[in-house]
Symmetry: C2
């Protein structure tokens, strides 16, 4: 007997039949004595439909408070329907909006952050043996205005509720069977991981793996909530996302990820003196453009090249901003490229083993892939390459690091 | 400059274009300096759709709390879309759910009654010159559960808000041009009334006129809120519903209504002694069946016939209940008839004039309409007739009392 928070995404509750299936799963978990709280998203397509209406009637930038008022109805519909479906199976259930379930957020409409969760009311419901059916993605601010957490926010809602309830598990149900060593559509030999650490999951999420929203994993790590990512269609165990010490396998590399949503911008011949970086990046930050990788070459003759990447959606705006600054900072010129991909290897194991990065570069060289930029952290190595090489690079790295016969790390001992 | 509450029903906000039209009307009223609060229903068809989903997934009697959670999303969508449309016209607007606008109700889900309205927050918004866009039909109970007021509840929401704000006018926008002397589909010569008293409007609403929900008129009368029923498509004045002293015309009869939604049940040969009525009507009341007219004939030989009418939807249940009691109370038998109609004339004028009822009976007799039951109040006379005579009876009464050349009342002086 445990307290379990389950989260089902939009495709899992896409129509009334899907909702009935979810109700079955919830009831079978509650029937063996578990306390169950279920967090659900809007039915697939609903949020997009509502956002398109908001644009049609409210212009390209519709008022965010009203957008939240509108789109939050999506989850509200799902919770009522799921609660009805569960009750129809003979189990008690009660639905709660974000406000009713005690999720307080800041006032940043359409991308609010959770400030606190008061789970007292939920706990009382669960203690009576009732299933609590909760609207993901939404909360209220201090004035009672409805806010939403932004895309993928339902994962974060689930983790936040699990943390507030002190849940034993937070199960994230999805249309894939767990977290894979790489994207199975690109790498047919990719395999499901049994366990992965929060740190690795965060790196993999930020590097392109879409199975979990990165904020939710950070939240889970901070509050020590064990996540279980699993399929809503088959009963098999999925992937557990747990603290580092819980990852027994000690995989050298856990995954190979890719991301084709970035673009790079290069400033050539920048005078290498203090304050230059601020001159370039402050206006980007003001424009709310997030810069990912930043690489500065070694200075030659007192000038340097600065290259950085941004989301491809922000590329045109970022290029215009940098071009406007170019003369003022005395740079020789600006160029950019949208046809890039970021390919990364992620793994706790590389902390303790030398030579992972160089082996990665060697594998890419053997496959004729030219490396444009490199960025590393303790548990990942990312390279930017020509976009057309994405698949072959990912497959080669997966074969080298994650398939039978892959190189064993050279031991330092 | 006035404080105006406007209410638009489902057909007035049926799609995005309709919502834009409503936004235009709202803004033109606000632009001349009025403070405007707008109450809206769900887009036409939305509530029915949601209720049918609730039945499909939750069975014939879906849990009412979850039904309210579900259907209340309908109005929430409309308020957000209308607020966006108003803002797009350059006027500030802010939407409020039932809970946010301070409507507290009892906990009777799907048919809740308003307990109180705290309009402080709305007043502050209006004082800033912002249009308040309000979800009709919904409120919250003391525990923050979402409740709905039942069909037509948006009228009641509008009147309640108007009362709480001390509004100068509550405008009810609808797809007809006002309150008519009779149903124009049946009586081509029916004409729009300029003014009608609350009392007459309540009688007309309860007798079949569907333009206003009866609860909302009672609420308006109790709080002295002047109602203006008017078309959402044309700018002309509609019908004012006001206190009796404000009705200057002093029409002898204001309207002829009909209602085909009732059925009658007769107990024959009931022993005429105390307690019999209670034996018959208590079990109906327990079954939440509302009894409308009750007529007991003069006793003959110590027995009597008792006849009453119920909503046609309740006919089968009511008949079964009465049949079960029949033997116990020693009645000779029970029969019933669903093919009836109730036709009524309503008018403040008849208070002070004798002979209205007899003139009504005479007109019906001249048209070969047999009267089965009669019920009167100070300002109305209702008769139950064979359903197939409905149209001819209504037309004949309209001609006799409301058209040029109609009989003048015989003065008592």
């Amino acid at each position: 007997m445990a307290l379990i928070v389950q989260k089902y995404g939009g495709t899992s509750v896409g129509d009334l039949d899907c909702i009935r299936n979810v109700a079955q799963r919830v009831v079978s978990s509650a029937a063996v004595g578990n306390q169950v709280a279920v967090v659900v998203s809007a039915m697939a397509g609903e949020t997009d439909q509502l956002v398109s209406w908001a644009r049609e009637i409210g212009g390209e930038q519709p008022d965010p408070r009203e957008v939240d008022m509108l789109v939050s109805t999506g989850e509200q519909k799902t919770i009522a329907l799921l609660a009805l479906a569960i009750r129809q199976l003979g189990h008690s259930a009660r639905s709660f909006t974000g406000g009713q379930m005690g999720i307080r957020t800041d006032t940043a409409h359409t991308r609010a952050r959770i400030a606190s969760v008061d789970a007292e009311r939920l706990q009382a419901v669960l203690d009576r043996g009732t299933v609590a059916v909760l609207a993901g993605f939404q909360g209220i601010d201090d004035e009672g205005n409805i806010t939403t957490l932004g895309r993928g926010g339902s994962d974060t809602s689930a983790v936040a509720v699990a943390a507030a309830l002190g849940a034993d598990i937070c199960e994230i149900y999805t249309d894939v069977e767990g977290v894979y060593t790489s994207d199975p559509r690109v790498v047919p030999r990719a395999r499901k991981l049994d366990r992965i650490s929060y740190d690795e999951m965060i790196e993999m999420a930020s590097l392109g793996a879409k199975v979990l929203q990165i904020r939710s994993v950070r939240f889970a790590m901070r509050h020590g909530v064990p996540l279980h990512v699993r399929s809503s269609f088959i009963p098999d165990e999925g992937t557990w996302v747990v603290p580092e010490e819980g990852v027994m396998e000690g995989l050298f590399v856990s995954g190979v990820t890719y991301n084709r949503d970035e673009a790079k911008i290069r400033l050539r011949g920048v005078k290498d003196h203090p304050g230059i970086a601020a001159r370039i990046f402050a206006p980007l930050s003001e424009a709310e453009i997030v810069v990912d990788m930043i690489i500065q070459n070694l200075s030659q003759d007192g000038t340097t090249d600065i290259t950085f990447t941004v989301a491809r959606d922000d590329y045109r705006r970022a290029l215009a901003i940098v071009e406007a600054e170019c003369a003022a900072i005395g740079a020789a010129g600006v160029d950019g490229d949208q046809s890039i991909a970021k390919v990364s290897i992620v793994g706790l194991g590389m902390k303790d083993h030398a030579g992972v990065a160089s082996r990665m570069f060697q594998v890419l060289a053997e496959h004729g892939v030219n490396i444009q930029l490199i960025s590393t952290s303790e548990i990942k190595v990312s390279v930017v390459i020509e976009e057309s090489h994405t698949e072959s690079a990912v497959r080669a790295l997966h074969a080298a690091f994650l398939e039978a016969g892959a190189d064993e790390p050279r031991s330092e001992a």
